[in-house]
Subunit: 129 residues, 2 copies
DNA sequence: AAGTAAATGAGAACGATTTGCAAATAAATT
DNA sequence: AATTTATTTGCAAATCGTTCTCATTTACTT
């Protein structure tokens, strides 16, 4: 009973995402979990990310340089992506007007399920160089 | 002088993008050019898309299922992506308020260069099934 | 404890994109 | 027009993120 009970890696992956503020990629999650779970496999990270996505627990925020980035904040919000350092930050102060989706539906006849507002440019750090 | 003068493939690729309304991927551009240029190479398409992007002639609109999609309309506008058939359509009737970028800059200290508003859901065709 | 189902690790497979290199084409120079 | 130089291209190999296969381990049920 000494040996720490072996919890599912899945929980660790979700928890990692929930505490992250960096909108990490699969690889980043894998690296962040190295201390806690040195034996984790990258495949497990990918598998569980896919599962979380299909469960709606996690969203894909963007693909930056061919790398998908994730977010456990599923409530739609605004993002900023730095084109220099690839940082993705939330802009929680900005609201996406509810009315936008309705407007899009009316105009296009599409059924809108999701809305994403993303700015790109230079983040504060990179801009001040 | 009989033989048609050999124009650069580059022009054909850009022209193809400019007349396309589908926000094609590199592969789609390649296929669309088959009749006109059966000897074109996929690598050439990729190379020129990268060049156009760095020149600001073409924008990357989204990455759908790991495939990058392009647009020669560089003026920022609204897109809708169908999660069923992967179609990407413009919603030119919807405007992105200029003020949004300024607001984002004030709030975050970032330097905003670009803004993207994207809806996802079911397109008209797919919704009516 | 045995049997079944789900989760995982390791590495192979896959697919989109990039790159190296030699040949083809265009542009510049004489 | 011939020669040199720079750019563009086709092809195939390489790269890299992601997915898949399969054998093993872990959890659950009886």
């Amino acid at each position: 009973m000494e040996a720490a009970k072996q919890f599912r890696k899945r929980n660790a992956i979700l928890a990692c995402l929930q505490r992250a503020t960096t909108h990490p990629s699969a690889e980043m999650v894998y690296e962040m979990l190295q201390k806690e779970h040195p034996d984790i496999s990258l495949a497990t990270v990918y598998r569980n990310l896919a599962r979380f996505k299909s469960q709606g627990l996690v969203n894909s925020v963007a693909t930056v340089h061919g790398v998908e980035r994730f977010d456990a904040m599923t409530h739609p919000h605004v993002h900023f992506i730095c084109t220099l350092c690839d940082a993705i930050v939330d802009l929680p102060q900005m609201e996406i007007p509810e009315s936008l989706s309705a407007e899009a539906e009316e105009i296009s006849g599409c059924r809108v399920q999701n809305c994403r507002l993303t700015f790109t440019g230079l983040c504060e750090k990179c801009a001040s160089k």
